[in-house]
Symmetry: C2
Subunit: 275 residues, 2 copies
């Protein structure tokens, strides 16, 4: 999927919402536990109820790995289900991998070939040769961690770099932006630091940004749009727990759709300036 295809969807759905599929067997509605594959069943119902409001889904791989081989099977099934039924939706593996080239090749194979993810989140610490094996895939994307939404992001990401006005995360963005281009490289910038989006936009005016931290983690959608939106939107804002666990009854998918529609409506208003 390329930049314009994502932007077309944003225009069509009047939404830049990504829903995080952080599916936890201990948090899904009890009645699903009788089904053959509760994790798949939960995701399927969430996706079918929300797809009309959503441009991206982002399964968080940890939640599937926590269930072992069976969890991995559920993940493979939901990826296949989404890609078959909603091929226009952008599918991000939230995996936060990053290893030497030889190993990154294997992760790329896992997520881009065996499963048909469009994108994967990666950590930048090991540098270019840990990222480039993912960038050789046409129409696939790397979503590189720049400034994350957790408290401890400050431990290293905000360190000042000598002989520059940069903090580490500025440096990560500056240096890595030459490894790929606007059509294969996005960045994670947490909504909990929305004012920092201004700095980010000075370095990379055009790249898509994946914004976690709206909702459960406290970030503001309006601030994210104010500081981060560009002429082609350039934003994918993620919400996970606030949508998928909004309700734990048999109506969970219906309530998730209501929450998703609320966010989409806000996004429609925020998009009005550029569309």
């Amino acid at each position: 999927m390329n930049y314009n295809q994502i932007f077309e969807q944003i225009k069509k759905k009047q939404s830049f919402l990504c829903v995080g599929l952080d599916t936890d067997i201990n948090k899904i509605p009890q009645h699903l536990l009788d089904s053959n594959d509760p994790i798949f069943e939960f995701n399927k119902q969430i996706v079918d109820a929300t797809a009309q409001y959503v441009v991206a889904y982002k399964p968080n791989i940890a939640f599937y790995e926590a269930l072992g081989a069976k969890g991995w099977e559920s993940l493979e099934k939901i990826v296949e289900y989404i890609k078959n039924k909603y091929p226009e939706i952008f599918l991000i593996a939230d995996a936060k991998r990053g290893d030497i080239g030889n190993t990154s090749n294997m992760y790329a194979k896992a997520f881009f070939e065996n499963m048909k993810f469009d994108a994967i989140t990666l950590a930048p610490y090991m540098g270019e040769d840990s990222v480039s094996p993912f960038l050789v895939y046409k129409d696939k994307w790397v979503v590189l961690l720049a400034l994350t939404s957790n408290n401890s992001a400050k431990d290293f990401q905000l360190l000042d770099i000598k002989n520059s006005d940069n903090k580490l995360f500025h440096n990560v963005i500056e240096k890595s932006s030459s490894w790929g281009d606007n059509n294969n490289l996005m960045y994670v910038v947490g909504a909990t630091k929305a004012e920092k989006l201004q700095d980010v936009r000075k370095i990379i005016p055009d790249n898509f940004l994946l914004i976690p931290g709206v909702g459960a983690q406290g970030g503001s959608l309006e601030e994210v749009a104010k500081y981060g939106m560009n002429k082609k939107c350039g934003l994918l804002v993620n919400s996970s727990r606030g949508i998928i666990y909004a309700d734990s009854s048999k109506k969970f998918a219906e309530i998730a759709a209501v929450k998703t529609a609320e966010l989409q409506k806000k996004m429609k208003n925020l998009l009005a300036d550029i569309l």
Copy 2:
């Protein structure tokens, strides 16, 4: 497993060797492809042939994920096999994970509860709250990336930090060393930068270091010992491809044992000064 238990094994086997189980279905001997689970069969034979010379095994998770749910099953089987037959051997998941606390909890569950790994490699970029969920497990270890063995390690790990004499990797070690202690925190320091081990030892004289990059990546075992060894050894040196793919015939495990024994003999000599 605690520090002294690892050290006891080092003394008993006169070895500080870790063998990386980077098991690639395209590189294992052809005759194994007829077996029910070639990946497990390969690992089992490698482990049985080399365990007497080895204090740790390190399956690289990417190689199993590249095979999907079936690869994950093979991984679960080999972890169980090693832990049952060789409970004294230290077992490291080379996973290089790192995510917000909520997600790190899930990875910890995957690797420390569902599978009985003793340790997991993590990337430091997201800071303390991405690491601490792993440190609450008694007798389990975090192996944090500090200075990696790949060329692009220089991209960020060697950046100079303002108002200090530190590079980023020094800062990672200094700050993170207070998150845990010598009994649950190790660091990855690549053998391809062996002289930098002197700096590392000034900051953390006592922690174990996991050293990749000896062998295929060109690092020197003698230099690693010279600059990195402490009174309780404090080193686990990893070799992967040089051992497990030393031969591709039916004698692959026998040849792997020969290569492992050669390294163990060198290590015995290097340990003579402290034992």
